[in-house]
Symmetry: C2
Subunit: 558 residues, 2 copies
């Protein structure tokens, strides 16, 4: 139960209020800080639709077969189009037509300029079709229920990925998949949980599951493989080959999803083992592929994935940034949840800590964005130096030593939700510095490669729910991201979900997905001497070269 709430909370936290049904476009707008692009087009032409075939019941004057009668009736409504159908569906059609006395509606989807018949439902002109947009996160899966005609967001729900019981990290799951029945187990864990969520959504909104006529899902390459039952074995082995980059449209029944059996499932393609469909969804959601100005998109996490480009070109790379950015190494680090510190301010004079926690609960730990705030504030107030080392005279009583390692008491036992002090160790700071240095080095490398200076970047999009919590001011202070005007930074929230929503609702967006994929040049990061030099220079706060972070001014500079 707690896990479910967490997912919701994350979304709610971004928009600072409850997510009302029907407001996803507004949600998206606010989230984008007012940047307008195609995602806000609720009138986008869809690619899944229903039509009422024009046909009379059979008679001696017209003994056309049932299936052919139906196809003819559909062509009267969609005259210019070829109507394709799968044989197993054809087998069902006669009894469905007769059951509803030839009063039916046909569900079709467009693919490669042809219409594919994917289901027959009893005629119900006033009942809509629905679709699901799914963010297939390795930690959290988010499901959004949408009305395919009005584009209204009906509901949104999320759950912790049950594959966590097999292994919290992706590599463990890949190894497990190689065991007898392992892949099937991993696939069914997510699928069964997803089906459970779908049934609950249908019950809650009194929707027939067969009225759910499409799904779009985006996830990283491994999650996509596990969701599709594709063997992920070669993803983590040189030369790191996915089974499939661009899946064709898959039918819901082929994945045993409890929706209309013939419903199309659009699974976002990947560029490689380390650059997945979630990032393609991010590019789509950012709209950077449609703008003349150059943008940069970063997904901040254990892996930092970066894309730079515009409507003409896109270059991407991915590199290990370390788990510190997600709060993964700090003693008190944890994922976002009630009581987790997500914002820290330190009074420059009194060195008093002002702490904000999620849901205003007593603090129990710190998440990545909180950690970035904390370290930035420690630096600005002179409590750590440019190497990130604690400055004894500035830290005073708060500094103590445990097992030979210095640590700073951030929350005293009496104020803590756990009853124990929450502390930040020197090693935690060291970890964060390595992570931020890796991130900055990756950003420097990719911009150097394309020859675009940081100030040539018009929008710096931060993808992913986690990234949205980061205060760009603090991230600049620690030298994780370049010192650009704050308005350059645009947190996009759950871009995987937003991209999936767009792909589900808009035929144009769906086409863009594959154009984006084909447009991307993937830059293989070579950890050579040059990279290591850049990395060493970035392992200071904000950097050895202060001139590239002019806005960072500690209160008590050395």
């Amino acid at each position: 139960m707690k896990r479910q709430i967490m997912g919701r909370q994350e979304v709610v936290a971004i928009i600072g209020g409850r997510l009302d049904p029907g407001t996803w476009e507004q949600f998206f707008l606010r989230n984008n800080r007012g940047i307008m692009h195609q995602t806000t087009d609720t009138k986008a032409k869809g690619w899944i639709r229903k039509v009422a075939p024009e046909m009379a019941p059979p008679s001696l004057n017209d003994n056309t077969a049932d299936v052919d009668r139906l196809i003819k009736g559909i062509r009267k409504v969609l005259p210019e189009n070829e109507i394709l159908f799968d044989f197993p569906l054809a087998r069902e059609i006669p009894s469905i037509l007769r059951k509803y006395d030839y009063q039916v509606e046909a569900v079709l989807f467009e693919d490669h300029d042809r219409f594919h018949l994917c289901g027959i439902l009893p005629a119900a002109p006033d009942v809509s079709l629905y679709g699901l947009a799914v963010d297939l996160g390795s930690s959290t899966v988010v499901v959004r229920l949408l009305n395919l005609s009005t584009h209204e967001c009906i509901d949104e729900t999320s759950f912790h990925n049950p594959q966590i019981e097999i292994g919290p990290d992706i590599l463990m799951r890949i190894h497990y998949a190689a065991q007898e029945g392992g892949l099937q187990k991993l696939q069914s864990l997510v699928r069964d949980r997803l089906n459970q969520e779908i049934r609950a959504l249908c019950r809650k909104h009194t929707i027939e599951p067969t009225r759910i006529a499409g799904m779009a899902a985006a996830g990283n390459t491994t999650m996509t493989h596990l969701f599709l039952g594709l063997d992920p074995y070669w993803l983590c082995r040189e030369p790191y080959i996915p089974a499939v980059n661009s899946p064709s449209i898959i039918k819901a029944h082929e994945l045993a999803l409890d929706i209309l059996p013939g419903a199309p499932v659009l699974v976002f393609p990947n560029v490689g083992s380390y650059f997945g469909g979630d990032l393609i969804a991010g590019i789509l959601a950012s709209g950077m592929n449609q703008q003349e100005e150059i943008s940069l998109l970063v997904d901040v996490g254990t892996n930092a994935e970066v894309v730079i480009g515009n409507s003409d070109w896109l270059m991407a790379c991915a590199g290990a940034a370390g788990p510190a950015l997600e709060g993964g190494v700090a003693n008190m680090g944890m994922m976002a949840g009630p009581g987790v510190i997500d914002k820290v301010t330190i009074d420059p004079d009194t060195h008093e800590f002002q702490i904000r926690t999620i849901d205003h609960q007593a603090p129990v730990g710190i998440c990545g964005s909180g950690l970035i705030d904390l370290v930035a504030q420690l630096f600005l107030t002179g409590m750590i130096d440019i190497r990130g080392k604690f400055v004894r005279r500035a830290c005073g009583d708060l500094l103590r030593e445990k097992d030979g390692i210095r640590e700073l008491v951030v929350v005293k036992p009496e104020e803590s939700g756990t009853g124990e002090a929450l502390t930040l160790a020197q090693t935690d700071i060291d970890g964060l510095i390595r992570s931020k240095a890796a991130m900055f080095t990756i950003l420097t490398t990719i911009t150097n490669t394309v020859g675009i200076p940081f100030n040539g970047i018009r929008h710096f999009f931060i993808a992913g729910t986690f990234g949205s919590y980061i205060d760009p001011r603090s991230a600049i202070t620690i030298g994780m991201i370049p010192d650009l005007p704050l308005e350059t930074y645009v947190p996009l929230g759950n871009t995987s979900l937003q991209g999936a929503t767009m792909g589900l609702l808009s035929a144009e967006a769906r086409e863009s997905i594959f154009r984006i994929r084909d447009q991307i040049t993937y830059l293989e990061l070579n950890v050579n001497q040059e990279f290591m030099n850049l990395f060493s220079a970035a392992k200071f706060i904000p950097h050895t070269d202060k001139s590239i972070f002019p806005s960072v001014r500690p209160v008590n500079p050395d």
Copy 2:
């Protein structure tokens, strides 16, 4: 065992010798009495093919996913084409590629101007793909194994349709299909037997079943429904609606056929409940749809199906002719088989019978073609009159009476294979006359409808194995078919099988199938006063109006 032999014998009988492997075109030519048309084009462009994808194994320099790598490799060989693939196959591809070290060949079929990937096989440049042409007869199923590259006929085999155990006639099977599990039972009976035959053919010719990359099957509408597992319930109920007229391409695994799972199965479309894919195959095999001259095609059986037309138009009708034409009502009537009388000559002076039997065995019965010969000879020698009644003075001792019905001893007990006399009853002749009158009336009606006199017909094709046995001279004599020059009559043998072969081997033929279907106007036969008048006039030998049968001259005219 005996049943199997029968099928082979039928084919052998037509060409008067053994069917050598590799000679199907010659077979067809001879069978056609020298008429040349597209079926003889062994260089026809196929629609099922294999290609060797141009691809290198993955490397760090090219980390394209396995499926995408394969598709790319195929596109290098087939550049102008879109390559589509089904998701379940995509799932298998990575392990297949790795198993064969990326040395594979891809099997594809063309449909709607796109190529569909249907299988991946280990590279074997010298090994061909094979295909099956199947005549789905309600009594006999004939299977022909063909080389898809050379178009060579490798083998041919046949078996009695095991659905006969459910019911010898189609109506009984339709009723059985409505029972719980009935349809599945009927479908699996044929499928299992067919799979058994396919396995035997593969063993015999050392062919991997996965090298069988396509099938084309033609049958009447009910047989097609049962083969596809389509409910035939409405076929025999007003307004006689098939489930499907034009099936899409079906994959072999969807029918549980033991060949390449993704292999396309082309099932011939039907025009209606009483005009099936076997007739479309017949039209295709005859080539009448490509000729300027007007041809007529008849499939002689319990139902008489007739098509008239040319490359511009086709009109079809079907009507009940009665079982007499297939030897179904005669006391001694039976289907073709060893010892069955298939030709009769009567000496006009001595009234001595000259009898030919299949396989030169002692006579055990008579088949439809033998019956037509017998009655024609009885008429020509004055042993029956124009009403078909026995003429006592001409029949002499051979005429006897049993249960108040007159009968003629055709074979004496001592010459019979059964040890008993083979006799022809007055009622048998009456039945045959009704059947031939029905046939002639149908022919008159359809030619009247289109306004073409009989002598405007350039070719009169006789479709079906059974029809091939009929001596046109005898059929004219009894007034079953019009009195046209004998060279007009072209027996085509098993046109269902021939059409299926063409559809399997030739992309152009395959397209023609659906053009033919759409071109046909179906004429609903109204059994009205006019029809009954024509029928009554035709119930004489050869007809009440002798002037329309000028060539029929009895030895002892009344």
